[in-house]
């Protein structure tokens, strides 16, 4: 499914050019859920941006392939059409663009790129209603501008809604648990779990073990200082919760 090989990435900061990813390699086969855990500043969010193609990050070395297709050659929207979805850590507010216009434009842009027919208003509405119901999203929320005035929980649910509607092959969830109370966390996790399937993979980025109680990963990676420093089964997350990141950071140094 997704193959990340020795990826190095730089970003321009006030202190000059900084290398954030220092040789990341990761393979997620179809149907698996992998989790990446790590302390602040380890490069987790950078990895998600690099996967999605944010222009501020320059990949200087390495390769990323989704089902054999070279993602680094593609624009962000082409990666979306290829089946990559990023649930943002901080979903962006877009004043003046209402949710239904946004979802319609998004879905049809992707369908168009894939050479599929655009969905008509009725089919879209039906799909939207169905997915909203699953996630406990009100009709009223669909009339508002994208993420404007949404609570933390509503923003994250909205990310999962978009994921459900766009039906990606590979989804990256960047700290989807942050800012969620336990009820919202369960709703979000149920939304993700219901999408697990043999031909879809997930990369779940998180600080905390808690999310992984609800979304059970097949593999857990520990990231520190721009590298994967340890890989293991779900038990690794529990170990981290107990011992903290200190020893892993030392290993990476």
């Amino acid at each position: 499914m997704i193959n990340i090989k020795d990826v190095h990435a730089h970003v321009e900061t006030d202190d000059g050019d900084v290398e954030i990813l220092k040789g990341i390699s990761l393979d997620i086969p179809a149907g698996e859920v992998h989790a990446i855990m790590g302390p602040n500043g380890s490069g987790k969010s950078t990895l998600s941006y690099v996967l999605a193609g944010r222009e501020d990050y320059e990949v200087t070395k390495g390769a990323i392939e989704l089902d054999g297709e070279d993602l680094l050659e593609l624009e962000p929207e082409e990666r979306a059409a290829a089946g990559l979805f990023l649930a943002f850590q901080y979903p962006v507010e877009i004043p003046g663009v209402n949710m239904s216009t946004f979802l319609k434009t998004s879905i049809n842009s992707i369908r168009k790129q894939r050479g599929e027919d655009e969905l008509d208003a009725l089919a879209l509405l039906k799909l939207m209603k169905e997915k909203c119901k699953d996630l406990g999203i009100s009709d009223e929320m669909m009339k508002r501008a994208v993420n404007v005035g949404f609570s933390g929980g509503e923003k994250k649910r909205n990310e999962v809604l978009q994921m459900a509607m766009l039906d990606p092959k590979f989804a990256v969830l960047d700290e989807t648990d942050s800012g969620l109370d336990i009820d919202a966390l369960k709703i979000v996790a149920d939304g993700v779990n219901s999408m697990r399937s043999p031909d879809r993979s997930f990369l779940v980025i998180t600080h905390y073990q808690r999310l992984l109680d609800y979304i059970k990963p097949d593999v857990v990676h520990v990231m520190a200082k721009g590298k994967i420093v340890k890989t293991g089964g779900p038990e690794l997350a529990l170990e981290l919760e107990e011992k903290g990141y200190a020893e892993f950071i030392e290993e990476a140094a």
């Binding site: 193609g53 979306a80 979805f85 962006v92 877009i94 004043p95 946004f102 998004s106 842009s109």
Partner: protein
């Protein structure tokens, strides 16, 4: 009472204001006026008068058209007596290079409601100066919207005197400028009575080498307690050569008021652009959607739906041309 509102005389071609005058510091009128202007025969003042309690269900329209070489000085007078209601659409167009030097006087009577939509689409070689004087009585509502798209140089100068209690005055506008267009919006609101509200909400899109000016001043007199004054100007630069000058001012002599102002000038944010592209929109689509949303938020202030749809259409067409060139 120390009102700063000046007498309503049109600008005089022999005595033009220069950028040395504070209120004209960003706008050089003399330099923009076409050469060899001939003073056209002055049309009679257009008067729109609605009697006490007269409620006009349908919008009324007036068109001001000029042609090449003309120096016209149209005068418009709108009077709404107590309880009258009107939606007025004022259109501007023309051909060639001309100077439309207009004076508008508006009186909104007690409990009257004027929805005033101004669609300025003068020729790109033309100069328009429009001095507007508005007086409102108690419980009056004036809701103004101005779409400025045309003209080589335009100046829309508004002096509002809120004279009666509990009135509400709004000035909303969109400037969409390209080429070497220059558009100046200068607003002075005099709060002279208590419990009144004033809103200014302007958004400016600047492409190519265009130049926008927004000067907005709220003057709260001592008697105008419980004033609620709001002002926001946002400008979006679509080109590195475009320029925006913004001068927000508050002058407050009452001690129990709420006034706020904000002004921003910048480019499109990267964050929403990336968010939309991650959701499958290409860069051009994402930019179009964000910029249309930027102007839509002002268009929402227009109450009449068919008029609002027309404005949406006009801005959409402008954007498609601007973003595809």
């Amino acid at each position: 009472m120390g009102s700063q509102v000046k007498t309503m005389k049109p600008l005089n071609i022999d005595d033009l204001p220069t950028p040395k005058v504070e209120e004209w510091k960003y706008t050089n009128l003399g330099r923009a006026l076409p050469a060899n202007l001939a003073v056209a025969e002055q049309p009679e003042e257009i008067v729109i008068h609605k009697n006490r309690g007269e409620v006009c269900e349908q919008p009324e329209e007036i068109v001001f058209t000029s042609s090449d070489g003309q120096h016209t000085q149209p005068r418009l007078r709108i009077v709404l007596e107590e309880g009258a209601q009107l939606t007025l659409i004022e259109r501007h167009d023309g051909t060639g290079a001309y100077w439309k030097n207009m004076v508008t006087e508006i009186e909104v009577g007690p409990n009257a409601n004027l929805q005033h939509v101004r669609l300025q689409n003068d020729n790109n070689e033309a100069v328009q100066t429009n001095l507007v004087h508005i007086k409102t009585a108690r419980d009056a509502v004036y809701n103004g919207f101005s779409l400025n798209m045309g003209g080589k140089l335009t100046r829309h100068e508004i002096h509002a005197e809120i004279q009666g209690e509990n009135g509400e005055v709004s000035f909303n506008g969109i400037n969409m400028l390209n080429g070497e267009q220059h558009a100046d919006t200068t607003i002075l609101i005099e709060h002279q009575a208590p419990h009144c509200q004033s809103n200014q909400f302007y958004r400016t899109l600047l492409d190519d080498k265009s130049h926008g000016v927004f000067q907005g001043k709220v003057h709260v007199h001592q008697a105008a307690q419980k004033t609620d004054g709001y002002q926001l100007s946002n400008a979006l630069l679509l080109s590195p050569d475009a320029e925006m000058d913004t001068k927000p001012e508050l002058e407050i002599y009452a001690d129990d008021v709420k006034c706020s102002h904000g002004a921003t000038t910048g480019q499109l944010d990267e964050d929403p652009l990336f968010y939309l592209r991650q959701r499958g929109l290409n860069e051009a689509q994402a930019r179009m959607l964000l910029i249309q949303a930027f102007v839509d938020e002002v268009i929402e202030k227009v109450e009449n739906e068919p008029v609002r749809e027309d404005i949406l259409e006009a801005t959409h067409t402008w954007l498609q041309t601007a973003l595809n060139s």
